[in-house]
Amino acid sequence: MQLKIGNIYIKDVQFASTTEVKEGVLHLNKDEFLAVAGDDERIASVDVYLAKPGEETRIIPVKDVIEPRVKVEGDGGIFPGFMCGVEQVGSGTTHVLKGAAIVTTGRIVGFQEGIVDMSGPGAEYTPFSKTYNIVLKVEPIDGILQHEHEEIVRLAGFRAGIYVGKAGHNVTPDDYRTFETKPLVQQINEYPDLPKVVYVYMLQTQGLLHDTYVYGVDAKKIIPTFLYPTEVFDGAVVSGNCVSACDKNPTYVHMNHPVIEELYAKHGKEFNFLGCVVTNENVTLMDKERSSNMTAKLVEFLGADAVIISEEGFGNPDADLVMNCNKITKKGIKTVLITDEYAGQDGASQSLADSTPAGDAVVTGGNANEIIKLPVMKNVIGYPEVAEVIAGGFQGSLSSDGSITVELQAITGATSEVGYGYLSARTY
């Protein structure tokens, strides 16, 4: 399966009378955009704001981030199972408005999280301070409960992403990147001397506000399965995960999966990247046993010599991470784990809720408990009043001068467990 990604680099976004991309500037017809994004009888009102890198702007609370993409050649469309049918995606050509993002905000529950600062110290911790953001604020009609509210905001974001992505359909991309994974036997034979690597892609799937979807299917109900990595670039995996801003994978991150991109970068040189096994993180021990057994079996069946395993979340998913690590290691396959840490504000506590001696190669996305002070911003998009009740904050988080002292966990993408962020460690 081969996918050509055509990047159209976006240097600015402006409201205009016609939605189009001209010389790298994304022009957006506000009324048309709102009509498409708000096209759901359960929505009372929608509004849109622009937030650009370097501005003194805070977006709060961020629910999801979506990259505008459009399929220009090949089967299916972006976000299969949601915005189109369930044709197999991941082949042909897809155009990307690189540098633009749809950011959704909504008050789904009373407690809040998900801060994106476009400048200042907070901006250094979120990748979405560097994108030209089209912020979509969604208010449902009265009487909508949390489950439905989450779905309404999620789907509005996808509709907005599809609408904006279409502006790139007839634009010649600035550059192309081609990704290819062949059917298993051919792929193994292509680089017979290189070690074979599989990516075990764990998805947050615990329930309300903790869900992820694969081709429209609630991933807590899947048996672990194989995905060609390019399927992910067309939106085969999307987020319905609204909790734990720092280490959840927004839809944008699934579409730009850094582990998959990096595996492709070294594919055919250092190793032979065979593809992805997607698996879940359910709440019952029985589901965990079943999914980790199936994952280990699939990885062995694919002939992997080594796997990368990333988790999404903390606590319950640590158990899945450890089970996957133990069972895959037991089959004689090497593992590298990716996680983040909740090591206390001083970094001195045990980082995960579970551990294993088999987990002898671990990459961390950073300590989510670390404290940061976020200064006052001139503009606040979304719901400024929620600063007092931000998760990762504490009593007295909001100072009288308007600054907020919070743990990194409140910042969208700060400790990404797939490495889509800026934290790193250096030795001197």
Binding site: V109, G110, L208, L285, D287, F394
Partner: protein, 133 residues
Amino acid sequence: MRKEIFIVTNNKLVIEEFPALEVIGDLDAVFLKVRDLVHEGNVIMTHPLSGSIKPHETEFKSIVLSKGDGTMNFDSLHLIENAITTSAKFKKPKRDYGIDNSRVENDFMTIDYSLLKTGLEGLGTTLYKLIDI
């Protein structure tokens, strides 16, 4: 014969709908009750650290156990001891959400209730029977 399972909870939304062993108290009270039950030979069926809302952001917790044969299950003990250690790490004074206090409390209860329901659906009724204890 189906295995008997039961719920331990401090969440009134759960108590209103399911037979459950009610714990009066916070998250730690639920964890300590579950630890006692594990020592008595019961087995944990749903992860004590379910959900991404951190311990003490929310105090509501529902955990499913199965009735054991009196032999202590070390995997369950490991799970609940780790949960207790994690809870201590996250301990902080209760937040005041002002006028939103009751809404936030209701949201936390709803999420715990939803995660429990997801767990019960995952366990199903073929192998397990939910009992009152």
